[in-house]
Amino acid sequence: MGIPWNEVLKLKNQFVDDLIKITGKDGILTTPEDLAVYSYDGTFEEHRPDIVALPQTTEQVSRLVMLAGSKRIPIVPRGMASGLAAGSVPFSGGIALTMTRMNRILEIDLNNAIAHVEAGVITAKLQTEVEKYALFYPPDPSSNRHSTIGGNVACNAGGPRCLKYGVTGDYVLGLTVVLADGRVLKTGGKPIKDVVGYNLTALFTGSEGTLGVITEVLLRLIAKPRQHRTALIEFNSLADACYSVNAILMAGIVPAAIELMDVTAIACVEQVMKLDLPTDIEAMLLIEADGKYKKSVQRDIDAVVEICKANGARKARIAQDEDERENLWKARRLVSASLARLAPNKIGEDITVPRNAIPETVERIKATSAKYGIPVVIFGHAGDGNLHPNILFDKHDPDQLGKVTKMVEEIFNISLEMGGTLSGEHGVGMLKRPYIQKALGFESIEIQKRIKHAFDPLNILNPGKIFSD
């Protein structure tokens, strides 16, 4: 049985020719070199696709999906591949459906403060454009310069500012989605309130390319806050830092961001960036207040500093000018990538726990690190309990790799035991898949699999992600 090899090749060539008819020659890549570079994302996982497609319109995506579906060829949507859960790594083979060339901002509706964009628009590019009109798109994943809106929506990306402003999903008003059979579905629209039928927009947000291919997005914008004050507050004890976070929020102040860096993260950034950060403390909070009026923002940051000092802060520094503010942020933004200098590989998790559980969670992760003798660097968004423990290792060392697998599991267990969850903003992808049953329970998985089946009965859209097939 089986088809002879030359027949297979002939079929593949025919298929590639048909794809080229849809996108043009430029839009289909098949050389070994192309396939090799479309094999990874921001993790260390790799698997080559069989074909790379770069569509330029929703219609092209629709025809590509329809054609692939007819041959039952998997489709793995991909933006700029900065993901941290291996969600866009094509383990299934098939087509790496790359959205980077759908990068037009279709409309900025000033009267309604809404942007209509294609999925491949780079997030920072959108932010720059809308800020020209004093508008603001708040979600700010660290990768905002090298990730796309489509990817952000598919993973429901977060970022430091989410404490005050919410995550990507809070700004998605509507989507254009290509379904598994090639049909084009439009969800939502410009109205801010809309309770007609199930909220499909929310269902696709965070679906990681498993339910449909997001090609266009309607995004809610808000007025750009004019004033910012940023403070860097040093704590001798992590517990004091976490207690301060709660005290600030309970005092009725909602800073735009409360970022936590533990001593390992501070040392790491200092080594790479040379920003003059203190390295002899246990924790540091980077807190930013923003708003319309200079005086009220100043009052907020002063109150924040006061509360921190009352709760054991050693020292507080308020950025005096824009340069200093940028520098403080630069440190936080580049933590994740700077870690790359300390070890060949890293796994960056994004567990989220209730705020008051942060100190114990961090202590237990540190104990895990000590137990296995493998360094873990911890930082995160303290305001919403979202921690990024980063495990540093060398994947070519089989001994380390074995330990890391165990550590990941232990960290997830710690989070769940503390009443937390596996992921606050990266998504499940492939890396967290083994743990979701424990996190969600059988009923939830079962119903989610039925949703997946309803949208994608042939299982061609990013197969094997989130749940096993």
Partner: protein
């Protein structure tokens, strides 16, 4: 020895300069990624290919090498990488590895037979001078205006500046005495392109130096700096050129070595790295490289005579990659332009983005290079500048081509020329 080269990967391909965390930050600054929007045309992609080649996961095929040659070498990725990887440096390294196992005959002819021999190069470039002199060029200019020329030919032709009658090497004195008291004795490395095509700029360099108390020695027996050889994978030839040039300047007995070509400067400063493993030469190369300065770097270090002429022009500046990232020099040329009274200095948007030249990419990768060039010209047009300064012959050629294509009236000069005008009156 394996045909595909995996057996001869040098230590540079195996060290931490290729440690990539896949974060993707380099995609933000890469000019080829910005145009093509494919991972294959990105630094992260090229580095992945290099890693695959090094580990044997991919053969060093001609398509893989094509991806290496598509890199413009602007080094923006090396600069932004938080993990300290150097994609553009490793691209050069892989080109070098490939030439060791599959040497291309034309490269030997070009880089050994021609580029290393100034006399032959001057002879070979004489048709350009004749072309300019007998008025043929004016005819071609008319043909361009009425769209008679194919795009490619038109753009290539437009790269050429007004070609001087004689190469500057034949005109410059071996020793140009300082005007007035001599405070510095400096060696001048007159680059090939500067001599053959941009003699106007280098003549200005020497005039400005002598005006400011420098006695300028210009050795005539130097060879090409070696950058073209390195770019095309012939590091071996570049090493020979480096040794030759080092000994020439040792004989000239000067402490300071100046150049007004960003590419030459970046290469001369890297002789130390190039000959690091050469027991006999490493120390001499290190001394040599330490003493090399770009003209703007040097001029901003010494007290300058106040220029007397006002130059009422809107001027902007384009950062050559080999100066900004290759040498870390970007403040000095701007300060230098700012010295001149009357100049309205405008900062070009994206001034430090590659112009698309990459040395020879307008020839090697025409359509891609042209796209990158067009972005630069858009920014230039938006700036409203009448003059654009850039201390690199390759950038100047690219800017010339872009400006002619767009029909702008913008003069392309070396920054030092502006200072020369301020001393001696405007020349154009």
């Amino acid at each position: 020895m394996e045909k595909d080269g995996t057996g001869v990967l040098s230590h540079k391909l195996l060290n931490d300069k290729r440690n990539c965390s896949h974060c993707g930050l380099c995609l933000v600054v890469c000019p080829t990624y910005r145009e093509l929007l494919t991972e294959t045309a990105s630094p992260r992609g090229r580095l992945a290919l290099i890693n695959q080649a090094a580990s044997g996961g991919l053969h060093i095929s001609s398509n893989l090498m094509e991806q290496m040659y598509q890199c413009f070498g602007c080094m923006a990725c090396d600069e932004i990488c938080p993990a300290g990887a150097e994609p553009s440096g490793l691209v050069l390294e892989l080109r070098n590895v490939r030439e060791k196992t599959n040497p291309a005959v034309w490269k030997k002819l070009l880089f050994n037979g021609l580029v290393r021999k100034p006399d032959i190069m001057e002879l070979a470039s004489s048709p350009f001078r004749i072309y300019e002199r007998i008025g043929l060029r004016r005819l071609v200019g008319l043909a361009r205006k009425v769209n008679l020329l194919p795009d490619r030919i038109s753009d290539w032709e437009a790269m050429l500046p007004n070609i001087p009658n004689r190469p500057l090497r034949q005109i410059l004195p071996g020793v140009a005495e300082a005007k007035g008291e001599s405070h510095y004795r400096v060696g001048f490395f007159l680059g090939c392109m500067q001599s053959l095509f941009f003699g106007r700029g280098s003549a200005a360099t020497v005039r400005v130096l002598t005006r400011n108390g420098c006695t300028v020695l210009t050795p005539k027996d130097i060879q090409c700096c070696g950058m073209p050889s390195v770019s095309y994978g012939r590091q071996d030839l570049a090493k020979e050129q480096a040794r030759h040039n080092i000994s020439v300047f040792e004989h000239a007995n000067v402490e300071t070595i100046l150049t007004d070509c960003a590419t030459c400067g970046s290469m001369l400063k890297s002789y130390a790295d190039l000959l690091e493993d050469d027991q006999i030469w490493s120390e001499r190369a290190a001394t040599f490289s330490r003493n090399v300065y770009d003209i703007s770097e040097f001029l901003m270090k010494i007290p300058l005579v106040k220029p007397q002429h006002r130059i009422e022009r809107r001027v902007t500046y384009h950062d050559p990659c080999h100066l900004r990232r290759g040498q870390g020099v970007w403040k000095e040329p701007r300060s230098l332009l700012g010295l001149v009274d009357g100049v309205d200095l405008i900062e070009l948007v994206e001034a430090d983005w590659c112009c698309g030249s990459g040395g020879s990419q307008l020839i090697g990768h025409y359509s891609l290079s042209r796209k990158v060039m067009q972005r630069k010209i858009d920014q230039l047009k938006n700036s409203g500048a009448e003059v654009i300064a850039s201390g690199c012959p390759a950038c100047q050629m690219q800017l010339n081509a872009g400006i002619k294509r767009r029909g702008l009236q913008v003069k392309v000069i070396h920054p030092v020329e502006l200072l020369d005008w301020a001393y001696h009156g405007m020349r154009y």
